[in-house]
């Protein structure tokens, strides 16, 4: 099975659908290395986002995924790594 890819665009779409956006933040700006917290997303918003990624991509994300990967760049990489493990499994 070919591996699905999870992109920054996917992450932005899911963030907006699930939690919305803080008025003071431009998600289209350079956000790759900005902490989610600075982007206006607290624990609940991140739980909602994680749940949506799990549903849409059929992956299981561990409970500390956002603690271990606090920026969009790290999260996208972590989700893709998980997708890769599933594709090769």
């Amino acid at each position: 099975m070919s591996q699905q890819e999870f992109t920054l665009q996917d992450l932005k779409r899911i963030l907006l659908d699930g939690a919305g956006a803080d008025e003071s933040v431009d998600l289209d700006g350079d956000i790759l290395d900005t902490d989610f917290e600075q982007l206006g997303y607290e624990s609940l918003a991140l739980l909602e986002t994680g749940g949506r990624i799990e549903r849409e991509y059929g992956v299981e994300l561990h409970d500390e995924i956002f603690t271990d990967n606090p920026t969009p760049r790290a999260l996208v990489a972590a989700v893709n790594a998980q997708l890769g493990r599933m594709a090769s499994a």
Binding site: E42, S43, L44, L47, E48, G51, D63
Partner: protein, 422 residues
């Protein structure tokens, strides 16, 4: 004249056995009533443990009509109210219905009926426009839980002020606080008060699964609720009700009532911060504790026992430890503190009233219940949380606290009115 509100009757339905005696036996023996969920098939949920009541409404004297009309939580409230009235001896004297009110707390209302009725009228979610023809004629009373106060008023004959207090997980303290206020300001002489919740339903489980707030220790249900333990991983849902007869002190003494405790002070504060998040320093809960002690004209040093919120989430137990240190100062390290949620689970709004019941029983017997499952204390929860075993302890003044979604923090002080039997 300074009017004071005292508890003269107690009724309890709690996991592990209904009635006050079974409840107290469970607590003092340190047994846990948490188990795999049996009320429905919970196999697909992340958390599959809860503290359930083996409840037979007909066995408690409810008629078929009452059983059909009432959600499980309302049934608990009515049974609890009848037990409390019987315990108080009030039924044997002529009490004035106009001076008797009702204040019932509930966090989740009739959620079980809402869940099951929704499935019927929506054909399991297939219909966006629900089919009202399949709705129970009691659906309104499930949606608007003021019906709980209606049922308790009908069951007890109260015709004074009646209301439901629904402040989420602080409801069990706040409903009794509201009742005490009505007695103190002269609005009522007797209040039937307490709280009830029966939230163990698919929609409740799903919502707590989503925020990962509940324990996933599904293979060891009896050890799942572990407040203040290093290995805790969330709260365990519970259910139940505790209902009290609250009376004005003079009237209670005049009729020779047994007086369990006075509601000496209470306060609610909001953290004004986050709907579910807690500020680590515990400032608002500490402020609620200070305000409740002030109202009771009591100092931290007088507190003999603290009935903790102790939900068993990572966040709460540290927050609460910080708040107790802040609110009680050095005395926080000297007073025994425990969480009965380790044994009866967290029944959302009602558990605050169950904790009031545990507190007045601790005052009656001079025994404080333990925190079960507390084998390895979290180093950051470094107070005397009475692990595993109940303790004989002179208990005349109790502080009980609650913390809930919406950022609400409540504290109540229970004391022994001067001259009442120890």
């Amino acid at each position: 004249m300074n009017r004071r509100a005292v508890i003269t009757g107690v009724g309890v339905l709690a996991p592990g056995g209904t009635g006050v005696q079974n409840f107290w036996d469970l607590l003092t023996e340190g047994r846990t009533a948490t188990r795999r969920i049996t009320l429905f098939d919970a196999g697909s949920f992340r958390s599959r443990v809860a503290a359930e009541i083996d409840f037979d409404p007909a066995g408690h004297g409810l008629t078929p009509q009452e059983i059909q009309r009432m959600d499980r939580a309302a049934q608990f409230a009515v049974v609890g109210a009848r037990e409390a009235i019987a315990d108080s001896g009030l039924a044997t004297v002529a009490f004035d219905p106009h001076r008797t009110g009702v204040s019932i707390g509930s966090g989740a209302g009739a959620v079980r009926r809402l869940d099951s009725e929704y499935r019927v009228v929506s054909d399991d979610g297939r219909l966006d426009l629900v089919d009202h023809a399949y709705a129970s004629r009691h659906l309104y009373r499930q949606c608007v839980p003021s019906s709980f106060a209606v049922e308790v008023a009908w069951a007890t004959g109260a015709e004074g002020p009646a209301t439901v207090v629904s402040t989420g997980c602080t409801s069990g303290l706040d409903a009794v606080a509201h009742a005490a206020d009505l007695i103190r300001d002269g609005t009522a002489d007797v209040m039937i008060t307490g709280a009830t919740d029966a939230p163990i339903s698919p929609i409740t489980l799903a919502s707590f699964d989503a925020i990962k707030a509940t324990s996933t220790r599904n293979d060891e249900p009896r050890a799942a609720s572990r407040p203040f333990d290093a290995d805790r991983d969330g709260f365990v849902l519970g259910e139940g009700a505790a209902v009290f007869v609250l009376e004005e002190l003079t009237g209670a003494r005049d009729r020779g009532a047994r007086i369990y405790a006075e509601i000496a002070g209470h306060a609610t504060r909001s953290n004004g911060f986050h709907m579910t998040g807690l500020r680590p320093d515990g400032r608002e809960l500490a402020e609620a504790i200070t305000a409740a002690l002030d109202e009771a004209h009591t100092s931290p040093e007088d507190v003999d026992y603290v009935s903790a919120h102790g939900s068993g989430t990572r966040q709460n137990d540290r927050h609460e430890t910080a708040a107790l240190k802040r609110g009680l100062g050095a005395h926080a390290r000297r007073t025994p503190i425990s969480s009965i949620k380790s044994m009866v689970g967290h029944s959302l709004g009602s558990v605050g009233s169950l904790e009031i019941a545990a507190s007045v029983l601790a005052m009656r017997h001079h025994v404080v219940p333990p925190t079960a499952n507390l084998h390895t204390p979290d180093p950051e929860c470094d107070l005397d949380y009475v692990p595993i075993t109940a303790r004989e302890h002179r208990t005349d003044t109790v502080l009980t606290v609650a913390s809930g979604f919406g950022g609400l923090q409540s504290a109540m002080v229970l004391s022994r009115p001067d001259g009442s039997a120890a």
